[in-house]
């Protein structure tokens, strides 16, 4: 009951006009930063740090949490309207969001993304509130072997994501992994594959690579279509009814929503994996569970729901280890960690169980922020949709390039990153034409370091065993992941065999 009391106090503290207005402003900024391709949620949180430094701890926490949540949601706007993810957490939203927009259903797609984001966000926050401590115990069970198998599981997602040739998909993944090995080795620290170019010592930065792979090919496609209709999207008439209809439509899919929320929550909880992984895994899982998997990628609501629910659930999930263990579950959470320390708050076991009021107010604030981003987001998205559809390609294409340059540069203040971004962009376009989707490649880029770190650390720890690789098969949790990986890998095969059996038994009936 103390919890309830603390929550009530928290509610009172949130609905102070000054704080509330600041939250609205911060939400708007977060949405804009999330929507801009190249500017990430991590950046958005980092920007807020100096601004919140002079404020009270509670204000600082609430505002940084707000911008985190809204930036992740904002990423869906450009994913849907421009086929370029605003943040790496919205990559999968492009797959079904953009086809929908092209059909003139842009508004509907944005609304679906909005409701899904709020659902996932609320889900994550509720679990943060109620089950943070027990969940953190589960998170701790993940050691290097489990991280390795988790990365393997992530890679098997490629099997389902590959709309064309599965072999090509895995080749893409392998290439992505190999590229991720350029630079300093994560465990040993030695320099690899830099060909003497000292600028490559830091490796190929992930964000510029993602921006290059996902934002440049659509621009190149735009160039090809520059002579077509000036308007990129055909806007559908604004219907107030659409709001209610779409809401009902989304809420009907409770199973999808819950599944994606759990995936986001869970992946968010694990330090080292964040929204960028969650949205892709959730998308694949939704496809697997669906009765019409082949429709994914053509513009169906389930695709958007999976991606956007999961990535916002990551927010709450990533705060669980932060608040309970003092270990951030995602890059934006890591920045919040710094903010907490600067305010003299020690994130860790004592924080949560010590009934600190600031924590409860923070959680309430996060909840309110999640709901708040709905009206602000929808209004902003409506404006964006109208704006984008009015702009012609000759303005849009160069402008997107402009944003990608800013975005890639601001990651490490390194011009090389922008060159890499452009180069990989062109490469990505060429590969796409050859049948190699960028999705698997980026998955390889993201998961490569996780897999390698897990593997090498495991082998080091396993030195005390007769064979060091035995440690990969020692723990039950590892086996759970191994089995999941095998299932995930052979799922397309199972499905084919299964459907053949079904159709052949049907035929025998007809005779």
């Amino acid at each position: 009951m103390e919890t309830l009391h603390a929550l009530m106090v928290g509610l009172q503290e949130i609905f102070v006009l000054k704080l509330f207005l600041m939250m609205c402003g911060v939400t708007l900024v977060g949405l804009l930063m999330g929507a801009a391709p190249g500017l990430t949620a991590t950046m958005a949180v980092a920007l807020l740090i100096p601004i919140t430094f002079p404020l009270s701890t509670t204000y600082a926490l609430v505002l940084t949490g707000t911008i985190y949540m809204s930036a992740i949601y904002g990423g869906s706007f450009s994913a849907i309207l421009l086929n370029t993810p605003g943040t790496p957490s919205s990559i999968a939203t492009c797959f079904d969001g953009y086809p929908m927009a092209k059909r003139g259903e842009g508004q509907r797609a944005v609304l679906i993304a909005s409701f899904s984001s709020v659902y996932g966000g609320v889900f994550g926050v509720i679990f943060l509130l109620l089950l943070a401590v027990p969940l953190s115990v589960v998170a701790l069970k993940f050691g290097p072997p489990e991280y390795f198998w988790l990365a393997v599981l992530g890679m098997t997602v490629i099997a389902a994501l590959s709309t064309g040739n599965i072999v090509k998909g895995f080749i893409g993944g392998a290439i992505g992994i190999l590229i991720s090995t350029i630079g300093i080795a994560p465990v040993g620290g030695s320099m690899r594959f830099t060909m003497g170019i000292s600028n490559l010592n830091a490796g190929v930065a992930l964000i510029p690579a993602l921006i290059g792979f996902f934002c440049i090919p659509p621009v190149l496609d735009m160039i090809v279509h520059r002579e077509e209709e000036i308007h990129l999207l055909k806007t559908s008439k604004v219907q107030p009814r659409l709001l209610l209809e779409t809401f009902k439509e989304v809420m009907k899919k409770q199973v999808d929503l819950i599944r994606a929320s759990f995936i986001g929550l869970f992946i968010g909880m694990l330090p080292g994996a964040g929204g960028s992984v969650a949205n892709l895994v959730a998308y694949e899982e939704a496809q697997r569970a669906s009765k019409h998997p082949e429709k994914f990628g053509t513009g169906i609501p389930e695709g958007i729901i999976a991606s956007e629910t999961a990535n916002n659930a990551v927010v709450g999930g990533s705060l669980i280890p932060l608040l309970t263990l003092g270990v951030p579950g995602s890059p934006p959470a890591a920045v919040m960690y710094g903010a907490l320390l600067m305010h003299g708050v020690q994130p860790g076991p004592q924080l949560f169980t010590g009934n600190s009021q600031a924590v409860f107010t923070f959680i309430v604030g996060l909840f309110v922020a999640t709901l708040l981003m709905l009206p602000i987001g929808i209004a902003l998205a409506g404006g964006m949709t109208k704006l984008v559809s009015r702009l012609s390609i000759r303005v849009l294409a160069p402008f997107i390039i402009f944003l990608t340059i800013i975005g890639s540069y601001s990651v490490r203040n390194n011009v090389l990153d922008v060159y890499i971004m452009l180069t990989l962009g062109v490469l990505g376009y060429v590969l796409k034409k050859l049948g190699f989707d960028p999705g698997p490649i980026t998955l390889g880029l993201i998961l490569g370091p996780i897999a390698e770190t897990g593997l090498i650390q495991s082998l080091l720890i396993g030195r005390t065993l007769p064979y060091s690789w035995m440690i990969l098969f020692k723990y039950p949790l590892s086996w759970v992941l191994i089995i999941l990986s095998i299932t995930s890998l052979f799922w397309p095969l199972f499905r084919k065999i299964f459907s053949k059996k079904a159709s052949s038994s049907q035929q025998s009936l007809e005779v």
Partner: protein, 149 residues
Amino acid sequence: MKSNRIVSVIFLLISGWFWAESIHVPYKDALFPRLMALLLIVLSLILFMETFLKQGQLVEQKPALTRRNLIYMILIISLAFAWLYMMNIFGFATSSIVFLLIMTLILSTKAMKFRETLFTLILYAVIVIGFWFAFSKLLLIPLPHGFLI
């Protein structure tokens, strides 16, 4: 697709390169790249074999890329690289305004009238300077600098 054959050979070469380069690196840092290179070799071989097996498969006819479009794409990309290079000489804002305008002019299907061009120029100037201001003055994030802004 014949292209698959060429591509798989290229990937075989790439994996070979990674394998070879990993000689310079101590064992524990060479293990993973080598495993992945091996994986890539296996996959590339599979892809290569596939091209011989699936002879009669329907090849999706995607609309061919016209020469003209290709030229436009190469042009825009080259301009993007030039833009970057110029940023370090002339500064972020200047280069951005210039190149945004050049690209827009090139992509226009009908030659833009003078008034339209001027309007676009001013629009770009406002937007770019707005970004420049927000980033370098308000948020104090460095942008590429040259001798102009």
